[in-house]
Symmetry: C2
Subunit: 213 residues, 2 copies
């Protein structure tokens, strides 16, 4: 078969959780979207909450792996930050459903299921914090409240998943580049605008997300 039932269930859940929300999606909706009976669903998942948690962990692991690979080797904080921004924006533009589930449904998880998800998110945000702090220490970023600015930039970039459409006037490359520029400016970047290594980001996204970018 082209795609396994297991993959169909996962994809169906991502799509429906993103558009109708976790509580707004019924087991029978899931079954219909995955082309299975509601009973068969339970051959591939635990509870509905288990399925949600697995989706979140998968998505966050993918994003974290991609970010670590893209920024491996450290180096110039400006370049690192611009790379993180470009990667984040690309990921949210090519996989808005997955992203919206991660961003919007964390609170519905029970504490036990939420804990590893939050841990992954924190690990990812530490990459951002490190780039920003290094840049501030090196004097290339001039910003008053680095921690607040990190949150502001993350929210700005995640917002892409809420409105971006590939049918719009902006190509993915322009979008990522523009956001990198916005972030650099917000951080009071004084160095010449080092162009983020967009090609590398595109390759990583293409590999991790299995899409052509």
């Amino acid at each position: 078969m082209a795609v396994s039932s297991r993959e169909r269930v996962h994809a169906a859940a991502v799509k429906l959780f993103a558009t109708k929300g976790f509580h707004g999606t019924g087991i029978r909706d899931l079954a219909q979207e995955a082309e299975l009976s509601s009973a068969s669903l339970y051959h591939y998942m635990g509870t509905k909450e288990d399925l949600l948690a697995e989706i979140m962990r998968t998505a966050l692991n993918r994003l974290l792996d991609a970010a670590r690979e893209a920024t491996a080797g450290g180096g110039d904080p400006v370049h690192r930050l611009r790379t993180l921004v470009a990667l984040h924006v690309l990921a949210h533009a090519v996989g808005p459903a997955e992203t919206r589930v991660v961003d919007n449904e964390v609170d519905v998880l029970s504490p036990a299921a939420r804990e590893p998800v939050v841990a992954l998110r924190d690990a990812y945000e530490r990459l951002w914090a490190s780039a920003i702090d290094d840049g501030v220490a090196a004097g290339v970023f001039r910003v008053e409240h680095p921690a607040v600015t990190r949150l502001a930039l993350l929210e700005m970039c995640s917002g892409v998943a809420r409105w971006y459409s590939p049918l719009g006037p902006l190509a993915l490359d322009e979008l990522a580049e523009h956001y990198a520029e916005l972030a650099s400016r917000a951080l009071g970047c004084t160095s010449a605008p080092g162009v983020a290594d967009l090609r590398r980001c595109r390759e990583i996204v293409a590999k991790e997300w299995g899409v052509s970018v």
Copy 2:
């Protein structure tokens, strides 16, 4: 009585819809929070969806009124934009629950109920678009994609409702001022940083939201 039952229902719905989501909140949850029986609830609302729509319209009208009052008279686009940013951030910091409902639950409304809500949101965003476009035309903003930048800034500012806590290190004034600065920088603002009229914004928020800011 100090607060009417009608107000208690409204407040309970804002709180629960914000924390548990619309579909995650049951009629009986609402009733318990409002200290009424589930049957009495229906004396003050139509359907659950009607209640959600009313909350959204109320919140958006308040924000729109505040923004119009704060930017009345037009004038310097930089000052106008900074005022809009400061007001938006203050509103999202003092009323995060209300804001999260408006931002996260629009999709659950039926088309008929969603239409006026989206119209209000569009009217509000036009204030931002106008300030940005005027600034670009006047040459005080230098940004490549004004429309995309507007969306990016709006998402950045709305994100405040997701993480801000009054217990944190930043006072409301500093927060609003910092965001105004971030937005100015992102827009490539070339003029001297005109301080947003924070006092006026605070007064408007205090009046419209009925809180001391």
